[in-house]
Amino acid sequence: MQEIWDILKSLDYSPLWISLKTGLVATVLCFFLGIWAARRVMRMGKRAKAFTDGLLTLPMVLPPTVAGFFLLLIFSLRRPIGSFLYQELSIKVVQTWLGCILAASVIAFPLMYRNARAAFEQVDIELIYAGRTLGMSERAIFWRVVLPSAGPGVVSGTILTFARALGEYGATSMLAGNIAGKTGTISQRIAMVIQNGDYLTAGLWVLIILLISFGIVVLMNLFADSKMKNIKKW
């Protein structure tokens, strides 16, 4: 027990903050992008919709390392876009915190997009029609009618996005690397200490991320249940 306490006290907590910061920023990005993409895809024709939806969902079904490969292909300093960004705009993605955010956002994005779309598609269309005939602007209808009505779905999408971004490993390790205090996230720290055979420290990090993730999902369930009172058990 004393041993655990000692480790906890001397632990470098930077992975926790880096993961939380990354998760938060990625969630904010995905929130707006996901909602925007959901609206765009909803308005598309059948074929364009199937194609675009497939493309946007890919990061969720492919191994994260594949996403990491593509991200490297774009942002590596040895590639045209990456070198352009670095030389002209001094933006460096590889081996930086920006890379963490980008990797986490790409991987978590489909969760936001798909949940938002499902929620929007269930909004009673008569409410939108009513808003239009009453002279409300499309923007007002979206923020004051559609979003509140699609609320539970959008919220659960947001929370899942955060949980996913928090634990991202594959793409992050390829794009951002594991630089302690800079890009070293919890999941990367776990992999690293395991490699060193330090099961106790790894176990503590596992416990931390487990508690956070489980807490998030439970919180989401409680929220969703309170919003949907008329759900039937069967």
Binding site: D124, E126, L127, Y129, A130, G131, R132, T133, L134, G135, M136, S137, A140, R144, V145, P148, S149, G151
Partner: protein
Amino acid sequence: MPLTVDIIKRLQGFTLNVSLTAEAGVTALLGASGSGKSMTLRCIAGVEKPDEGRIVLDGRVLYDSGEKIDLPPQERRVGYLFQRYALFPNMTVLQNIDAGLSRERDARIKQAKRESLISRFRLDGLEQRYPRELSGGQMQRVALCRMLAAEPEAILLDEPFAALDSHLRWQLEGEVKQTFSEFSGVALLVSHDRGEVYRMSQRVCVLNDGASEPVLGTAELFDHPRTLQAALITGCKNCVPAEILSQGVIHVPDWNARLACAQAADGAITHTGIRAHYILPCAAEVENALYCRVVEAADDVFSRVLTLLPAGGTGTIRVELSRAAGERFTSGGEGWFCLPKEHIMLLRETHER
């Protein structure tokens, strides 16, 4: 300030082809469910787009496929009362009404309008309630209030009473009638209920399988429907094929009968009809009397319904008598029944366009 609609919209399985002009006052769109009534309203409001045609409100072109004009619903100034009211569930009564006032920029004028609307629709004290906390009647008042807050030039009501119990319906009809009487523009009322249409509208346009018939005065349509479909939708229960023998005389094969009729017939008549409550028991020598066997006799809530088979005929006739007049007829009985000639309607299969 008339509303002229002339549109075509192709939908899966049928084509909506509506052509009507509605003057100020209440015009009803009467048709069976699935005949395209709601879709017509949606096209006028601008939330659905016709394939081709033209919609003009008071000289303002709302839609014209030829000139590529398609005003967004926000600019049409057409109010829409939805069947289930479509109140915003996340907003209070006051916020719902404010949604209708969103065009009004001046805060003081807005407040004045808000107050007068709330008192006019007797919503005082309900301002902070949410739609789920309102009764059906209150919900309808909020929906009417919200619609009129936007100061529409025409109002469209989509089966406003369809979801209500019959006792509540009477009460709310009064409410809507009151709104109609205070509204100076065009009002379109969609309904499949002939009683509702008769009580509430001045003119009717029958919609049959997506196609509109000419607009008629409500009383005229109910007294003298011109087509088989109009007769059926206005509740005529006895409609059978018929042919003209000479002016004022028709032959009805299904009833094995030759009947005199008061209405002047033109050549295109294919059917005849008579409403069930105009047929009465009579003596043998009366004009248009048929000797019938009572196939079935049953009590309805306030009447006795007889199903008659005329001698030598193949088609039955439905008769509705008062309980008192009908109690002596039981199934298997026989007697003379008269089809008064002034109530015999001459009908065409469909309205030719």
